[in-house]
């Protein structure tokens, strides 16, 4: 069976002057897949992700997201993707419900859809008691789960997560990944960057960026086999050993 391709890049490159942040990366991501995008600090992950989201224009190469061209069809891309940045990114001075309504609103959801969606979301997260509380008063783990749920509120084809679980404990991280699995189960493609190697194991396939170049791309099991490693940590060290760039 032919797998549907939702992200396709060909020699995608971003230069800042002489510095090549992302150097000719070529890969494909399939629909419904959880795609891990790994690399040390400064390896070019965030730059690559920004190009895919339409936040940053590529210097050369090509890419299509959900079938739309990153150069010409950024508006269509924006309607089909969700995004959660490494900074926690809801409005702290708005309540849970107001945040949901706002983000639903700017994606153009109708009142009826919004009502249904927000009820669903709150039930899944078990946040009935917190609906009218300001987001700023919630614990970080809850905020992140909420931020993820808000990012997929408009049923995007792909959701980009930029180090979504930074700074939370393993239990919350596990719960967060449950949400990711359930979204993936609904057919949403997950594109996630992370530092945590245990999280890398949760992905269907992972890619490894070193110094702006994509050094590896396969399933975690295959990668471990290829590098004769028992954990993803070892794979990471093996691949990142030759890195010249210092973390930023």
């Amino acid at each position: 069976m032919e797998k549907e391709i939702v992200i396709k890049t060909d020699k995608l490159t971003k230069r800042f002057g002489d510095f090549i942040a992302t150097n000719e990366i070529t890969f494909e991501v399939y629909a419904g897949e959880i795609f891990g995008f790994l690399g040390a600090n400064g390896a070019g992950k965030t730059t690559a992700m920004k190009m895919l989201c339409g936040l940053s224009k590529p210097s050369s190469g090509s890419a299509t997201i959900a079938g739309f061209d990153v150069y010409k069809q950024t508006e269509s891309i924006k309607k089909n993707i969700g995004y959660m940045s490494q900074k926690f990114s809801l409005y702290e001075d708005l309540t849970v419900l107001e945040n949901i309504r706002f983000f639903g609103g700017i994606y153009g959801l109708s009142d009826k859809q919004l009502k249904k969606k927000s009820e669903e979301l709150i039930e899944v997260l078990g946040m009935e008691a917190e609906v009218k509380k300001l987001v700023g008063s919630l614990p970080l783990g809850w905020k992140q789960k909420l931020a993820f749920s808000v990012a997929i509120l408009h049923d995007p084809k792909i959701v980009f997560l930029d180090e979504p679980t930074g700074g939370v404990d393993p239990v919350i991280r596990r719960q967060f990944w449950d949400l990711i699995y359930s979204a993936s189960g609904k057919g949403i493609t997950i594109f996630v960057t992370t530092h945590y190697m245990d999280e890398a194991e949760y992905c269907n396939r992972i890619s490894m960026m070193v110094d702006g170049v994509m050094k590896a791309l396969d399933s975690p099991a295959n990668l471990k086999q290829q590098h004769l490693a028992s954990t993803m940590n070892e794979v990471f060290f093996e691949l990142a050993r030759g890195a010249k760039r210092k973390g930023d």
Partner: protein, 368 residues
């Protein structure tokens, strides 16, 4: 449109949740107007004056008596010569000096015309103005009385000199000045800070990834502040009309229209600052430092621009509030129409376009 409304509603939440800022927004203009209102009280009681009476005749004595009788003036001393006046102003708390020339009564009776000189300490322009008005009125009363009893048209010509501040800038100047200051500060600072906050917290990225048009982000941020500023303006005007008894001689509609123009100028300037500033603190600092002082100095309501060195006079032209100040004074005080202020309006509009074009260009660059 619905997206836009969601955004505007969110901005209102931000404003109303932030109690401290809200308090500042509405407290600042009220406090300023009240302060200026009380500082500029026009009531005159027991003002100390000196008299320099070269005439020492019946008429001059009668006038001095009626000056004292009213309770507004308290004659401190009778000076012997003109030269002591300046000294009296400097040393004592003397507000006014009245000089009767020699032969005052004789001139009045034989030439039917006599002169009195009133010299005021105009470093406090308002009280100087009020005091000379009182003094002139009392002298005119005396003149009327005289005419009545003798049926001859006597005229006493009062010659008024305002020391230190010949232009007599003051009372009516403060309200337009405060309006300019408040609108500038609030709009510039609020827009700058609220845009930079989105950048700082990372929500700006989310907004840029969403299909929401970045230009609409700016527009929806402008709406609440425009709205609040217009309320603020109304409060200032109400206070100044009721409390300071300042007239609004011209068209109220024109006044609001011109104010809206200044608010838009300020909003676009705020947008420009938000492009440069990396943090909320920086944005606030740039807005305060970069605007408070120039606005205070160069608007013309505190320090007359005509008295400044020429280079500073030139510099004052780039301060938007200066033009707004001229516009407001023309409408409120002089009661003039649009034909009198179209030039100033054009200048303000030009500045707004400039700020908008530059900042939107920069804003776009940031997206790539």
């Amino acid at each position: 449109m619905k997206q836009f409304l969601s955004f505007v509603r969110k901005e209102f939440y931000h404003v109303f949740r932030d109690r401290k800022t809200l308090l500042m927004l509405f407290g600042l203009p009220i406090v300023q107007i009240l302060l200026f209102g009380f500082a500029l009280t026009n009531e005159v009681k027991n003002a100390k004056i000196v008299v320099c009476d070269y005439a020492k005749d019946q008429a001059s004595q009668q006038i001095i008596n009626s000056l004292e009788a009213g309770g507004q003036f308290e004659v401190q001393e009778n000076l012997l010569s003109h030269r002591e006046i300046e000294k009296a102003f400097r040393k004592e708390n003397v507000k006014l000096a009245i000089v009767f020339p020699a032969n005052f009564n004789r001139d009045l009776l034989h030439l039917n015309e006599a002169q009195i000189q009133i010299i005021a300490d105009a470093s406090d322009p308002n009280s100087a103005n009020a005091l000379t008005n009182y003094a002139t009125a009392i002298i005119m009363d005396y003149q009327q009385e005289l005419m009545h009893s003798r049926k001859i048209p006597y005229t006493i010509v009062t010659e008024t000199r305002m020391l230190y501040n010949p232009e007599l800038k003051g009372a009516t100047n403060f309200v337009p000045g405060v309006m300019a200051l408040v609108l500038m500060l609030i709009c510039v600072m609020m827009t700058a800070v609220s845009i930079v906050r989105e950048k700082e917290t990372g929500t700006m990225e989310i907004l840029l990834v969403s299909p929401f048009n970045p230009l609409l982000v700016i527009l929806s941020k402008a709406v609440p502040y425009l709205f609040l500023s217009l309320i603020n303006l109304t409060v200032i005007l109400l206070l100044s009309v009721t409390l300071l008894e300042l007239p609004i001689n011209g068209s109220l509609f024109l006044l609001f229209a011109e104010s809206t123009l200044l608010i838009i100028t300020a909003l676009s300037l705020g947008l420009l600052i938000s492009n440069v500033a990396k943090s909320q603190q920086t944005a606030m600092l740039i807005s305060l430092m970069g605007l408070m002082l120039p606005t205070m100095l160069f608007t013309g309501f505190m320090f007359p621009i005509e008295n400044m060195p020429y280079p500073l006079q030139l510099l004052s032209n780039i301060v938007p509030s200066k033009w707004y100040y001229i516009i407001v004074k023309s409408i409120m005080i002089k009661g003039l129409g649009f034909s009198a202020i179209w030039k100033e309006t054009l200048i303000l509009a030009g500045m707004t376009c400039f700020f908008l074009i530059v900042s939107i260009q920069k804003f776009k660059i940031r997206l790539i």
